[in-house]
């Protein structure tokens, strides 16, 4: 409880770190802030070619593969960058941590938030694509989108608290996580549809909160339906669990940050 109160007092710091991160990220590159949009678009092109034209076996039933992929890929990029690059966030800010006091959680929170803002900006592109393709949207379904985003944010934050704190003591984690993130993507229905997962593996897939989260995005934006709330509720439960667990671990480990860094 006191953690929340203190974080609230430091809200301005979170705000200015997010601003600094968003402004500073592409500093010095020619295209600058445009990379926020170009990067996911290029990834989309690669995956669309590979899975839409060459490895089509798993996606035969999908009508508009690019859009099917796009609405899942953007939320996935948010999640994976939260855990991989987010893991390094504490180590990256070591100068600040060694020299001055502030609630340490501010750093992963502002990092995940800036990734989140990036995702929101990419959603502008998603809606533009939907509009250009003439697919259209279901307004009632789109209203549930913020809820899905919040659930994903909670889960991503929990994971990033966990990974960023452990990375301080165990630097290999940062590199291990990039592989884990890749494997996790293929174990989540991002490049394929949930329906192609064999029945016997379904339970396993359902334990992965990202399965539900990605599925919800797709239901809303691709199938234009209101998502199944029970799925979302399960994801939310797992998200909250990880957030609490991440917070506890983080609070325990943060006491020795200044010495380990």
């Amino acid at each position: 409880m006191s953690t929340i109160k203190e974080l609230y007092a430091y809200r301005q710091m979170i705000f200015s770190l997010v601003k600094k991160d968003l402004r500073g990220r592409y500093k010095g590159s020619v295209l600058g802030f445009m990379w926020t949009f170009i990067n996911p678009l290029l990834q989309l092109i690669v995956y669309s070619i590979v899975f839409g034209h060459f490895l089509t076996a798993v996606n035969e039933t999908v009508e508009n593969y690019s859009l099917h992929l796009f609405v899942a890929l953007i939320p996935w990029i948010f999640f994976s960058s939260s855990i991989t690059i987010g893991a390094a966030s504490i180590v990256a800010q070591k100068e600040l941590i060694k020299k001055i006091y502030f609630p340490r959680m501010v750093i992963p929170i502002s990092y995940v938030t800036s990734c989140f803002v990036n995702m929101l900006l990419c959603f502008i592109v998603i809606f533009a694509v939907i509009f250009v393709m003439g697919v259209g949207v279901n307004f009632l379904a789109v209203l549930t989108l913020p809820i899905i985003m919040i659930v994903e944010y909670i889960f991503a934050l929990g994971m990033s608290l966990l990974t960023s704190a452990i990375t301080v003591y165990f630097r290999d984690l940062e590199h291990i996580l990039s592989i884990v993130a890749m494997a996790w993507m293929y174990l989540t229905p991002v490049v394929y549809s949930k329906s192609v997962v064999p029945e016997k593996y379904r339970t396993l897939f359902n334990l992965n909160p990202m399965t539900h989260i990605i599925d919800c995005y797709r239901t809303v934006l691709y199938y234009k339906q209101v998502p199944d709330l029970s799925n979302l509720l399960m994801a939310a439960g797992l998200g909250v669990f990880f957030l609490i667990f991440g917070t506890l671990v983080f609070n325990k480990l943060q006491k020795h940050f200044a010495e380990e860094l």
Binding site: A9, Q12, F15, S16, K27, L96, K99, Y101, D172
Partner: protein
């Protein structure tokens, strides 16, 4: 005593660090080189306790590595103690790392917001202080330029202005007032006194005892992780200086010049200065003195070949290399003398008016016509301290005579 009167309570706090001889933080290294993970546990604080009342200002003194900076880091909660308890009542601000989070490409104004937010201020609070901060930094005309265009002095001024305008209940300071030029330092000092008069609790770590004596009500001397003395700065500082004077004598001024660097001395070597010592008015050997104190130098010299018409001299230089005073027996119109055998020269300096600084001294033996016999540059160092905040090179005896129609207040 009521709880709300205590600002800081430190109880039996101990802290040790693991000093790895060769640390690997990767899995491979940890497994493969299991033996390398040897470390030595260094106990920096061995159990210290003290309380600070609200509105009190204390100074932590002690030599390098004694644990005073660690204490300050524990107070700011950058680190946590291994055992013991620290209670802080009120908002804490620290002047430990100035300019934390400054972004070179952002303007001074934006950096004020970033930096102040790290101290936990909200946008509204920063808005309210913005003008004060800018005024204090004297950077009004540059405030919208990127910080990378600032000189390092301007940078520090901006950073200090932010930190000092946070309006904390407890202010922790590590070796400040080395910021900017003399004018700005004086201004910072005045601001600190003003803050103190508003009831802010202040903890200062400093090597400059003069600063501590001016601001603090109490000094705590930490020696090897334990509190050695706690009390009135004037008394504790003296005790500390005595101790340090002895230690310094052992290390810095061995006084023995036989191994001294030859480039720092020249002359034909017919007579050599062998050893220099400094004493206070009570005849105690020391190398730290107060402004206005008497200093006696004893110089042992040896003679290889008779020196005719000898002249002894000394020169005093401050830390900027400025010559503060120099004289010799010829300037003093001594009758000519020869030195034939080994002996000891005494130079008595009465009421040395030099202000706080680290001074180096030259001692010389010359022939009457100025040809050097043994000219030793910067061979001895003394430190001057003072509890009065006057600035410059030397204290000029002075008095202010107020107009009679000014009414004097009773208090001070």
């Amino acid at each position: 005593m009521a709880d709300n009167e205590i600002a800081i309570e430190v109880k039996d706090v101990a802290k040790s660090f693991k000093v790895y001889f060769d640390k690997g933080s990767q899995l491979k290294e940890r497994l493969l080189f299991f033996k390398r993970n040897k470390y030595e546990e260094r106990r920096v604080l061995k159990g210290i306790s003290f309380t600070v009342k609200r509105g009190e200002a204390i100074g932590l003194i002690g030599r390098n590595g004694c644990g005073k900076s660690t204490t300050l880091k524990l107070l700011t909660r950058i680190m946590y103690p291994d055992s013991g308890k620290i209670t802080m009542n009120g908002r804490v601000s620290s002047l430990i790392e100035l300019g934390a989070g400054f972004h070179p490409d952002m303007s001074g104004r934006e950096n004020i917001y970033t930096n102040a937010s790290i101290f936990g201020l909200t946008k509204k609070e920063i808005d309210a202080r913005l003008q004060d901060i800018i005024d204090f930094s004297e950077l009004e005309q540059f405030i919208d330029n990127p910080v990378r265009t600032y000189s390092s002095g301007m940078y520090m001024r901006l950073a200090f202005s932010v930190a000092i305008n946070v309006d904390a209940d407890i202010l922790l300071i590590d070796e400040i007032l080395a910021v900017g030029d003399a004018n700005f330092q004086a201004k910072c000092f005045a601001k600190l006194k003003e803050i103190k008069s508003h009831g802010t609790t202040i903890v200062i770590v400093s090597h400059s005892l003069g600063q501590i004596e001016q601001i603090c009500d109490r000094s705590i001397w930490i020696l090897d992780g334990l509190i050695r003395a706690d009390g009135d700065p004037k008394e504790v500082d003296l005790e500390y200086l005595d101790f340090m004077g002895n230690e310094m004598q052992k290390s810095m001024n061995t006084g023995n010049l036989t191994g001294a660097c030859e480039t720092e001395r020249h002359g034909n070597g017919n007579a050599r200065i062998e050893k220099v010592r400094a004493f206070n008015s009570d005849g105690e050997e020391q190398s730290v003195f107060r402004t206005g104190e008497k200093i006696v130098f004893k110089i042992d010299y040896s003679v290889r070949e008779k020196v005719f018409d000898a002249v002894f001299g000394l020169g005093v230089f401050n830390s900027n290399g400025v010559s503060c005073y120099g004289t010799n027996t010829r300037i003093d119109r001594f009758k000519l003398f020869n030195i034939e055998e080994d002996g000891t020269l005494e130079i008595v300096l009465e009421e040395v008016p030099l202000l706080p600084d680290l001074y180096s001294l030259d001692f010389t033996i010359e022939y009457g016509d100025g040809i050097p016999v043994d000219y030793c540059r910067h061979i001895f160092k003394i430190e001057i301290i003072s509890g009065i905040g006057d600035i410059g090179v030397a204290r000029i005896k002075h008095s202010f005579l107020l107009d009679e129609n000014i009414e004097k207040k009773d208090e001070k």
